[in-house]
Point group: C2
Chain length 328, copies 2
């Protein structure tokens, strides 16, 4: 990597270099050579995903750098969780308009905190001068043939989510300083702020789903839109019951119509959406007892598309959330 | 990857999706799910490098998009060659100010051409609206323990380069329209233009060096500066003989002092620099006969730093080439 090991990344980002990320000595060679070396576990496949974050597109103009560092990595790791992969390492390609030491210190602090929370190690990077752009590639491993694919949902399966919906959109309302319901207390505001800026990728749940769930993905663009991708990739219909959608106490401070809209179409939730063969339905209770807020929200049927309370959902049910797609 | 499989990358970049990249079915799952899956060969380690290119920093304001697509990937693949890795797949994180179909078509053409030349497949990506930024992460594999590291050069080894030096800097002079020597014919100009915009990463040579060379890297920031990194990582002195430095016929159109300066301090050459235990010295002739323009340029000795014709080279011998480091 064209990383100067004596440069920015070496100086600021050592805190994000972890020993034994992934629970074993996966990083054979980290920062400082032309490339990093990872040691896969026997029988595993490599899982790779890349994301880039642009100011004003993926995050507001007003932000704190430590929150940004956390969020940039967490969003990328969520794609590993969505494949049932164990996180191992990540690279950081950082384009910065100026070298601002306090910004770098705070950003790297948030990034390192997220690396520790998700047990993923910084293995390399690249810094360049230019308009702010944060590129993160994440690398993990999964037992061969046990990745959680979008194409595996089958008629008869249970449709489930990994946690409350709508918090990403409500969190964005808090972050942007929009008018908030009177009932929302400061603890609720803090919770939603953290759900937006410091989402926790559901890696443990993803690992538990490996070889158990028939299909799955993470919800980043809103339940309906992402369910549409799962339905299309699997060639099935997904039937969702609105009364079953899980919400947080903080979200329930908003009027019911707003709650429902955000649960269905809000972006940035980063919880898993997965299909579970009915014989594994008993696991839902086990997982809830382990503290994972999984919920049954509907079922997989023959057909196509996404259905809400028996009504077909038109094409793209997605929410125009903060991220404005370049494909739009 | 937050790639919309129906989006830009799916539409324009299919040509860069190769079958049997790396010579086997390494890509178990490509574009379209939350992440890609690669299947490592038994006994291999995974090699990862990331680069980002910013307009006005890594490439001139005036460029043709197909050249840019080629160069962006080739520069990244050179880091795999530098580790003696076999290229397998790459991800593309593309930030674009506007959706310009002719730009995308040309850029993807150049990128795909480079992918074919280096047998590396596009496995995923992400597109975003914002100031132009091209992030590429490359993935390859190397037999366990046989990566070409910077730390392995030993006193007594032969110091070698994989091809002519100084062409990157001379190529930049051509690209920028600077005054050129009268002796430089159009074939020479074309050669240098291609050396700048379409460098060929030395992957085949890298593979041949695996388990043979004691240490190595690619030259991207100029021979003296990069030799300094090799010397420091290995804890040795590198002695270079200026009379042995290989140059192209095109470069030799410039006055000797300019030639030497570019060979020593010019950037963007992307040829390998490696140390060879003396018992393998006979291989140099074999490799030359296979068409690889390797040259012996000096030797590794006890001590530290880089020495040119017996004189110590001061600290950072690097050339302030087109890339202006953010660390500067």
């Amino acid at each position: 990597m064209s990383l100067d090991e004596f440069g920015l990344i070496g100086r600021y980002f050592q805190r994000a270099v972890l020993q034994q990320a992934g629970g074993h000595d996966a990083v054979a060679l980290g920062i400082g050579d032309d490339a990093a070396l990872l040691e896969p576990s026997p029988g595993c496949q490599w899982v790779i995903s890349t994301d880039s974050l642009v100011q004003g597109v993926h995050f507001p103009e007003q932000y704190s750098p430590d929150d940004l560092g956390y969020r940039a990595l967490a969003v990328a790791v969520s794609d590993l969780a969505a494949m049932a992969a164990r996180p191992l390492g990540f690279t950081l390609a950082l384009t910065l308009p100026v070298i601002d030491e306090s910004w770098l210190s705070a950003f790297s602090e948030g990034l390192a905190r997220c690396a520790v929370d998700h047990r993923i190690s910084l293995i390399g990077g690249d810094t360049t001068r230019g308009p702010l752009n944060i590129g993160i590639s994440v690398h993990g491993e999964v037992t061969r043939g046990r990745a959680l694919r979008r194409s595996g949902a089958r008629p008869g399966d249970l449709l489930c989510v990994g946690g409350p919906l709508g918090d990403g959109a409500a969190g964005l309302a808090v972050v942007l300083g929009q008018p908030l319901p009177d009932a929302l207390q400061s603890a609720g505001k803090d919770y939603l702020h953290a759900r937006f800026w410091r989402p926790r990728a559901q890696c443990e749940l993803g690992l538990a789903l490996s070889g158990i769930a028939s299909g799955g993905m993470d919800i980043s663009d809103g339940l309906l839109q992402d369910a549409g991708h799962l339905a299309a990739a699997s060639g099935v219909a997904l039937h969702i019951r609105s009364a079953e959608l899980p919400s947080s106490p903080a979200l329930r401070c908003w009027p019911p119509a707003q709650q429902l809209d955000w649960m269905l179409r809000g972006g940035d939730d980063y919880v898993l959406l997965f299909s579970l063969p009915p014989e594994h339905g008993v696991l839902l209770q086990d997982w809830q007892q382990r503290g994972w807020p999984v919920s049954l929200i509907g079922q997989v049927e023959q057909g196509s598309g996404v259905w809400l309370d028996g009504q077909a959902v038109a094409g793209d049910g997605g929410y125009q959330h903060f991220k404005e797609s370049a494909d739009g």
